[in-house]
Structures are given as C-alpha cells and as structure tokens.
Symmetry: C2
Amino acid sequence: MSVIAASVDERLRLAKDAAREIGLLDSARKTALLRAVADAVEAATDEIVAANAEDLERGRADAIGEALLDRLRLDAGRVAALAAAVRDVADLPDPVGRVLDTRTLPNGLALQKVAVPFGVVGSIYEARPNVTVDIASLALRSGNAVVLRGGSAAQSSNATLVRVMRDALSAQGVDPEAIQSVDDFGRDGARALMNARGLIDVLVPRGSAGLIETVVTESTVPVIETGAGVVHIVVDASARADWARDIVLNAKTQRPSVCNAVETVLVHRDAADRLLPELLASVIDAGVTVHGDEATRATDSRVVPATDDDWAREYGTLDLAVRVVDDLDEALAHIRRYSTQHTESIITDDQSAADRFLAEVDSAVVLVNASTRFTDGGEFGFGAEVGISTQKLHARGPMGLAELTSTKWLGRGGGQVRA
Amino acid sequence: MSVIAASVDERLRLAKDAAREIGLLDSARKTALLRAVADAVEAATDEIVAANAEDLERGRADAIGEALLDRLRLDAGRVAALAAAVRDVADLPDPVGRVLDTRTLPNGLALQKVAVPFGVVGSIYEARPNVTVDIASLALRSGNAVVLRGGSAAQSSNATLVRVMRDALSAQGVDPEAIQSVDDFGRDGARALMNARGLIDVLVPRGSAGLIETVVTESTVPVIETGAGVVHIVVDASARADWARDIVLNAKTQRPSVCNAVETVLVHRDAADRLLPELLASVIDAGVTVHGDEATRATDSRVVPATDDDWAREYGTLDLAVRVVDDLDEALAHIRRYSTQHTESIITDDQSAADRFLAEVDSAVVLVNASTRFTDGGEFGFGAEVGISTQKLHARGPMGLAELTSTKWLGRGGGQVRA
C-alpha cells in the first residue's frame, strides 16, 4: 500500500514526476492498467460501500436533503457501474500520439504536430463520488496524472476510492503518485490546486455555477470552464407543431437537473396562436411550472408571471420560462443577453431562419429541429465525457479524451540553420 | 471620422457588438477590408511618422536607450513594411468556417464542428508600435474584433495607427468599433481588459516575462501565454562536429534578442574533448560571452564562470551558458528543471537518443539536428504569427490564424428527441 505524502506541494511534485511515466505508456499498457483499476474497484465493493455509509450518516446528520443523499449514495450496483465505466474508458482509442499536422520546410526539416498528454490534470468537484473514478480513469487513458479535490460530503468514499486506485497502480508496477487527492486539506487543498502553476497543467472544475465561478476567477492555472446552461429553444413562425411540442417536452422533462435541459422557450408571435396552447398544456400536464410573459399567461391561466430574474435562471428543475417574441431578431437579442452559450435550438421549417440561427447564435452547440439534450459526449459518440466546455479556448461543447491532450511539434533535421 | 467612446466598459461593449458583424463577413470582404486598411496606413505615412516623432522625443527625454528607441522608430520605410504585412495577412486563407469534424448520430441528427471567430481578442503589449497593426490585422482576418493596450512609450504612434485603421473600416462601411484601444486609460485600461470576462474572449500578452506573468496571474479572462524562452541545445556523444558548431552558432547569434535563440548548451562528456574547443571558439569569436561550468572553463580560458542563475536566464543577448553533462539523463533532468518549454534541440547521430529526446522533452517544439531559430510561424509556413504559445491549453508553439478561432457544433435534425 502506497504512503501518502504529507504536504500538498509534495503531492503535486510527485504527481508531476509520475506524469512523465504515465505519459510514455503505450496504449495497450494503459488499457491493462485501467482494467486492473476497474477490477480493484469492484473487488473493494464492501469497503467502498462501508466508507460511503459514513458519508451518508454525516449527510443525514447535516440534513443535506434526500436529493443530495441520493447523489452521494454508493451501493453494490453503483460500484459495479463505476467499474464498468472504467472498463469502457479502458477500451477507448488512445488520444495520445495522433499526428495532427505534417509539414516539410523548403530546407528539408520535417515537422509533425502530435497529440501529447497535458501532464497533470487537476479537478475540483462536488457531491458525487463517482466523479473521482471517472476523472481519474479519463486522465490515465489520455496519459495524464491527476490531482483530485472532491466535495467534503463524499470525503470517506473519495479517500477509499483513491486508495483503491493507487494500490491498483502499484500492483501493476506503475507509480501510484499518478493519482493524488488533496481532500484532506479542505479549502487549502483547492486553493493550492488553483495556484499550482508549473505543477498542474489544466484545471477542470465540475459542479455548481458558484464553484466554477470561484475556480475561473481565482485560478492562475489554465481552466476549462464547464457546465452552466441557460439553454434556449426558439419556436419559429414556421415551426411544426408536433416537433415544437415534443422537443420542448423532451428538453425540459427528460432530465431537468442537467445542464443541457432547456430553461427558456421563445415563441414567434406569428406561431403563438397555432402552437402555444398545445405546447403549454403538454409541459404543464407533465408537471412543469411555466413562468410566462403577458402573452403566454393570456394563453393558459396556469402560467405564473415571469420576472426579469426568470430569463437568467438555470432552474435545473421542472420550471420553464416562456416568452412570446415579435420575430427572430428579438429571439436572437434575447439569447445574446441571457444565454450562457451552452446550447440553443430552433424549431423551424424555414431554411433561411435555420441558416441565420446557425450562423448567428454564438453557443457551443447550435441545433435545428432537435432536442437540446443531445449536447452530451456520450450522445456525440465520444465514448466518455470529461465535461461540457462553455468557454471558447481549447475546447468547446462536449469534451472527450482528445480534449485532455495538448500537442507538441517534433522536427527531424539534418543540420539545418536559419538563413 | 469615428468618435471614441469615453469609458473602457463602453468600448468593450461596442467591440463585442462589432464582433458580430466582423464574424459574419465572408472571406473576400475581409480581404478587401484589410487591403483598405493597408492603403490607409500607407497614405497616412506622414501623420504616423510625425506622431512617432513625439514618442521618440519623449523616449529620448526619458533616456530609454538606443535599443528601445530603435524598436520604437517608424520611418517611411517601416510604415511601408507595416502596410505590406497587412496585405500579406489579407491574402492568407480564411480560418473561419473550416469543417473540423462531421458526425451523424444513429437517429439521423447531422453534426458539424466548424471553426468560428473567438469574438473579441484582447492584447496587452509593449514597445514596438507595429504590433498594433499586426494584431489588429490578424484579428480582423480571423473574423474577430480587437481591443488593444499598447505600451505607453508608443502611445502617440499607437493612437494614430488605431485612428487610421478605424477610419479605414468606416470608409468600407464596416463598424469601426471592431478596433479599440484603451491606451489612454493607462494601467486601468490593462486592468479592465484582464477582468473583462464575457466581453473579451481571449487575451494575448506580448512583451517581457514580467508583463506576461502579470497578465497570466491577474487575468480572469482566458489567456494565451506567449514567449518566454530559456531554450536548450543538447550536443550528444555522437553529434557531428560541424552540425554542433553551425547550429549552436546560428541559434545563438543569428538574432540573439528573440525567444527562440538558444540560451544554454549541454554537451555530453564523451563529446567534450572532440567538439567543445571548436564550438566554444566559434561562438566566442563571434562575440558571444560564454558562461561555463568547470569543465567548460577548462576547455577555453575565455569562458567566464557560470552561476546557478545563468541556467535559468533568458539572456536575449550575446551570452550563452554551457555545461558538460554526464549523459542524456542528466541533460534531460537539466532541461526539466530550467526549460520554459519553448524549444529544445539535440544534435545527435544516434537514433535512439533522438527518439528518446523527442518523446521525453515536454516543450512546444522539440528538434533533432536543427537550429532552434525555426520555431516561428513564418518558418512553419503559417504566413503570419500571432505569437509563440508556451502553454498547453488551446495552442502550443507558433500560432497562426487558426489559433485565433474557436469552434462550434452545428446540428441539423428532423424532430429528434432523446430517449
């Protein structure tokens, strides 16, 4: 069993050293390593569930509520699912070593741009302990070491999961320091990660808007911002009634707590009489509280008044803001003002409206006639999802393993000097 | 002539609005726009040179030194070169709209990942006024608006160049707010840029290590770090004597002030007797001061003693640190400790040493048997260079126009909802 270094700084240095070894492992070796991690997690089910019981007990004592307790809970079935997810990642194509560009200079110097691991990936996250295993396996598959800072609510589960994974690495003859946790340093651990320039290459926060905002604002390490989604659907004048109804219902109710669920629907005035009664009835009958402007409230008496705050809210619940707009221009202006640039969709039969929407909406994913729920690494066929980037640097939209790599240029010459 | 907004915040908002218009211009339109900018710059030569004279006079009064005065100076020839550079950028392929990935989901939803402009590019830079025109033209070619914060030493030149470019945009019927300067706000202008989350999409600092460090540390806007180069050449046991001599001489003396010039040479002990005398004589005869370890000093009496500081220094001058190492492991450990991960090169005839160096050195550009001076956007064939990124996020190594774009996913469906 590996000993855990005493200071945050020492752990970060050990992770950086271990990253060199992990970064040079070939694809088959990394696959074998991750399968061993999956087996170890599964073999430690009792231990993990027992540690999780401590977290649940503390959560109950702290009255964190049933929803959070459920997110925190690990039973034998969930541990098995965790291990299965690691096996899936083990079998994903290795993103390291891909040749992304090739150039030969006039003097014969041959250049190749290749994908390389970042080195050390840091992650600060909340609540669910499965993120611990998730991020660690994605980092290892892409040749990176990982430093984790999970939520205090899951501290016993996380500590056990990290120990089990580190021991699995040791058993495979790989430096266990490639997986580090700084949970035991509380806020100081998070602060150290955010300021570890030169030791951590990229930091991926996962959790609430508040957590992400803190990391983006305070970190001097480069950050990939994930997640916040004030997502819009525009129902255009020419929208098909059944598509509008089905897509809005799906985007709102299929899983309201996630970032790609719709929060605001903007209905073209010319379509309101034709579509809005059925659309509102469909979501309200499904248990959704609709917060509407005056025109929407006039359509269905069950609609509650929307305040200005509603347009900017990521409900994450069975709540939906609905507004009738004069035209596409007003819809686009509304989106510019309130969108978090995650995902927007338009329901339309008008090609020029669709083209304009695709060109002008500045979001990670812009859709025509489809549910916003498709913004997802799994749905996009990436096999796994690191998160959904809402920034424009490095990665935008669903991130797969490729987004956990950087590049370097390799040049092979024969004595070339610059004239 | 366009009126300049009074507050920084207003300028940033106007730039963001203008970015939407610039982002939708097609390639031909952007080419025409940049040619008009080039013509306008050339036509305003007298005005620009007169404004520059004010800067030079202030510089002389402040005794900034001949080297800085030369970097600051714009004469008719240099203005013509500036305009020519803008014309070159005008003719570069448009990086916007490239289709980078295509996927069709099993349900028929057709996805495309396309290159889009960032929106608003910010730049904080020093000294040379040509950077003002350089960055603005690169930003416009890639469909971005730009907000500039130049050095106070060039404030009159920069103000005139910005005014000329803005007027050229107006004359072309394009919103002049796409080019903004916040020079007149001094440090407050720089601070505003670094905190303009939501208004500036990416910030590119160009200048001294101190400037870049400040921007990286203080900015909450995503930053692309450029430039610092403590660059190494390793002369392996098997190195050809003529290549070692010629490459080191070229990498040190061809243009010592730039970031891809070599600063430290590490010589394998087994090659020292054979190569070092000639190598040292060659650079010392060219006017280089060599700072060496004991073994190097024993080889040539003109070598001055190196201190620990020398290994970490980016001289930018005709100074070179030279150390004799026991083997490739010691060379790699030295590079890990002191390199800024910009460019390293090995001179070797040993394939396994070359392969190991390419795999293990974690720098933006890793070369075998070639001068480090090739790390350059122009040399790489990018046609223009935004800077040389020394970070791993988004861009690494020489950045061309493609690195001034982000991506978005476009999806065209027919009523798809998620199961």
